[in-house]
Symmetry: C4
Subunit: 345 residues, 4 copies
Amino acid sequence: MARVLDAEELEARARALLPSDIYDYYAGGSGSEAALRANTEAWRRVTLRPRVLRDVSRVDTAVSLAGARAGTPVCVAPTAFHNLAYPDGELASARGAATAGALYVLSTRSSRRIEDVAAVLAGHGGRWWFQVYVLRDRSLTEGLVRRAAEAGAQALVLTADAPVLGRKRRDRGAGFIPDEDFLANLGHLDDQASAEQAADVGLGDISWLRDISGGLPVLVKGVLRGDDAAACAAAGAAGVVVSNHGGRQLDAAVPTASALPEVAGALAGYPGCEVLVDGGLRSGLDVLRALALGARAAFVGRPVLWALACGGADGVRDLLTGLTAELGHEMALAGAATLADTAGL
Amino acid sequence: MARVLDAEELEARARALLPSDIYDYYAGGSGSEAALRANTEAWRRVTLRPRVLRDVSRVDTAVSLAGARAGTPVCVAPTAFHNLAYPDGELASARGAATAGALYVLSTRSSRRIEDVAAVLAGHGGRWWFQVYVLRDRSLTEGLVRRAAEAGAQALVLTADAPVLGRKRRDRGAGFIPDEDFLANLGHLDDQASAEQAADVGLGDISWLRDISGGLPVLVKGVLRGDDAAACAAAGAAGVVVSNHGGRQLDAAVPTASALPEVAGALAGYPGCEVLVDGGLRSGLDVLRALALGARAAFVGRPVLWALACGGADGVRDLLTGLTAELGHEMALAGAATLADTAGL
Amino acid sequence: MARVLDAEELEARARALLPSDIYDYYAGGSGSEAALRANTEAWRRVTLRPRVLRDVSRVDTAVSLAGARAGTPVCVAPTAFHNLAYPDGELASARGAATAGALYVLSTRSSRRIEDVAAVLAGHGGRWWFQVYVLRDRSLTEGLVRRAAEAGAQALVLTADAPVLGRKRRDRGAGFIPDEDFLANLGHLDDQASAEQAADVGLGDISWLRDISGGLPVLVKGVLRGDDAAACAAAGAAGVVVSNHGGRQLDAAVPTASALPEVAGALAGYPGCEVLVDGGLRSGLDVLRALALGARAAFVGRPVLWALACGGADGVRDLLTGLTAELGHEMALAGAATLADTAGL
Amino acid sequence: MARVLDAEELEARARALLPSDIYDYYAGGSGSEAALRANTEAWRRVTLRPRVLRDVSRVDTAVSLAGARAGTPVCVAPTAFHNLAYPDGELASARGAATAGALYVLSTRSSRRIEDVAAVLAGHGGRWWFQVYVLRDRSLTEGLVRRAAEAGAQALVLTADAPVLGRKRRDRGAGFIPDEDFLANLGHLDDQASAEQAADVGLGDISWLRDISGGLPVLVKGVLRGDDAAACAAAGAAGVVVSNHGGRQLDAAVPTASALPEVAGALAGYPGCEVLVDGGLRSGLDVLRALALGARAAFVGRPVLWALACGGADGVRDLLTGLTAELGHEMALAGAATLADTAGL
């Protein structure tokens, strides 16, 4: 097998391939980009204490997430407008995830229709969740959620950290702002404001989403505090994703590697509420760090976009397969034969 | 609305506009300028843990300070000799603050007469406090305080951290030292030393100032310790301003972001004594950090001078309006609909 | 006596002498080489609190290790393929160690036959241990262990942190990978895989090794956790070597200087289980730091290879003698007349 | 008054004036010079929490040290061979100290006779202590101590951290090593080794020195641990000097600013044993930091040598006067009217 490019190399290649405004739209963060940088740096600072004299002749990266089995805890994070990176957009990234056995999370801001992406996933045995922005006109949200459930989504991911949009320095001046043409799933709207994100989303929306989807598990994405995590669990969430939106919202937000232990600790008494994480994870070793700090799985965002830009579906597949192989290798080095063995490293 | 310049850009423009000795007089700190640099850097290191799933469809930045209502917790810090930055001096900065709905604190070392500044403020519905240096000849202080109370000041701010003047490296050699001509409010004095700051100011001066002003609330500026804060509260202070004089006095002083939690904790049992802060705050996000660490409001000093130099009253108004808008935006991102919600972020 | 070169100077000279792929094979670490760098840096950060008014007119560096006496706690770490550094390979390094009175640990991956190295050691009064990789075909391991015991090894060092091999960035592309020709002790094998390291080594192998060696003490190398150390002690280990394999295995592994106090604390209740350490030690002062943090002795790896490359057996002798002399000097400066006095510095 | 040069400027001027081997002899530290650098940096990191609303109209820097009154807590540290810096050597530095009202500590390795230096000090009303190395031939030490006591020394300072000499990198190669000609106080010796420092100095030497000096107080210099400090106090020491010999002995020694709080805490129960400190203090503000951390006075070493090289006795006087003035100014800024008020800043 030819050596798979690592996330840093993929980014460098994608940067050379993509128009600079699109690269900046993907790569940038809000404000001074402090949270963006801190995410990556915080993982690098996490040291592990490997175990020895354990049988690691078989290493198993399989995991169940909100009731669904996946071959790897490396998941595709929801990100917007994949057609900016590659002509087939989400059709390609979904195929890459499915062939790699990785969970795919489809964004509300997908540039391809839900049903079309779902068909690709189904054709390759892929499992997927649907990411939800609650919009000002909740009937629009309800329509999207019902379509996703109908199309086979196995859970919903409620984005909770975007009641308003973070301000990105790179978008000043001539910066790129995707327009509504990319919103393949909403179609023509008389009132544009109706599709803006609602600022009054609350804990009660967790059960609302479960109800309108016919009972799908709901995870809350954007949680950075133990008290919020416990409140989500008490309100019926099947999981939380520790996230600061990739450093694109509050510029002073704590890095996710720092928030993860607090959240995991607060959910120790809620076995039905799983902990996932995203933000700055760039290698299988970073995923192992996340597992050691209490995560059950990790979302990878920007590296998937770079892989998509560089190699389409095969690029995404190779990235996810490579991260999983690296994770397995590092687990063996750390004396962990299963994901459960990674706790407390 | 055209984009408002941020504090860093304003400083760069003001530096180009102002004579270098005046720029240095404003920008400099004492000694090695360690406290000056540490103030700004300490805020940058404060990370926040935003809350999610809160209703932030309406964000309210209103606050009451020592009994007076203001539309924003962003206040104009007392600084000296505004006519060095802009011909109209305090008449312009006061108008800017009043039109932005921000509290204005007038310095004893104002380059314009108290009554003239007060008239501008009254004309635009502005609220203001008067900053007090206790001078060696206390009758001079008493005269100033009575005039300020008469003119409509709603509180007094006693500067407590300047029993002697810090030594500023930038003022060595040809550095700029403002002379008495700028002291518009004292007029001709036979004995210059009588107008120097007293070195024996004590806790008893809090009630003395309240008495001679006819009962105005007195806040103490320059507090960096919990024990001092509690002593001020017990002596009748209506508030303390956590401050190291903008890094212009003790060069080894703790940064205000570090001192704030200790002071806020010590005053938890004194609800009548409010906590404010200044020093190195350069953005709405920094103000949110200050609120999260226990401040009720924040004073902004040098950025107001840069805005005044660049744009007069309108520049000051735009700066304060911009900081408040940014604060509101970051509050929404942090899940805080009111200033009370910012506690513990 | 001419001044002995320090470890940094030796590395620079060796780098100039050796082919670059061989230098990289020795010098490199896994992944981003974070663990490699952190090892060295962690020792530099350890500050000591020397004692005063102690009699240090005689400083004694003698130590007993797993029952054997050595004149110095500085030991030669097991490293592979010494003939890459110097024609005589382990015959030279062993002679250097023996003439310096330092314990020599022979690697399974020696480029010279066990019996030949043992003969050199015996001829110069040297004491030595044998480092063991448990291979997939355990009969191969058993053969090696029996030969080592027969040849006079006084203890076995079980490498526990290499169930799989770390991936080294410097070995990408044209990087050097030693082939089986160097494995002098295994001879021709029909099945290459039988000589790969086993991934199912466990605690039970400690007593197995003791048994097949006729009762030699067994130390476990690669321990970075207190719980693992206690488990090794309970399973009969005569000692543990706190090690992350010189930064060549898990790239996120904690530096050994950081892990050492935890391991030493966990073994406080197991007087029969000694604590040694390796990783990044580059001076007699670093050895003193290791002793102060709870180690009984320290393994030195790469510096021995540089000394071997630069000066053969005499180079190794001078390095070890120099490190010991420096250790004694620093002990005197720290008020420690014996190794026992170094505790708690 | 013309502005007094600060310690950094003095060093730069002295470096230009002095032969480079002499500059290096004074400026250098042992090993990697880590302790040397850490001393200075550690003071810079100490932040203070000034007090407000205290009467600082009169600031008093007076102090009693081992029963003797001095006008300032800034003292001249014992350093060797002042004639290398300035022709008159200790005669000049002693005169500078005496005219500044600062305590002078004369080194055993003085380049001028004890009696001659004492005469200068007496002529200017100066108080002084004598620094003692216990030499292998204790009768030599006894002779020096008796002469010092006779000449008017008011205390002895036993150097405890030099049982052997630290190795200084800058002295390698052509580095400067002062020879015995400089040892003005020992005269011709048949056996050079008899004048080397003893390596078996112990706690019992505290009372021995007191006895042979006719009852002078004895302070121990080089203490970096609380337990050692308590042992010195219990053995009758009148004080300890927290010191790592200016970074010239153990290169891994903790910086004195870090050791000071532990030592001061350990001596809280021994009111008869005073705490002094040296190492890296370069300004009046650094002296205030030392007082805040528990020191009663501070020794200044290298800056005195630079001042001596640049300006002889007057240079030393101006340095000490300037440091004291700066200390008083910073005390006022910190709300401390007396040295006792500096505790806990």
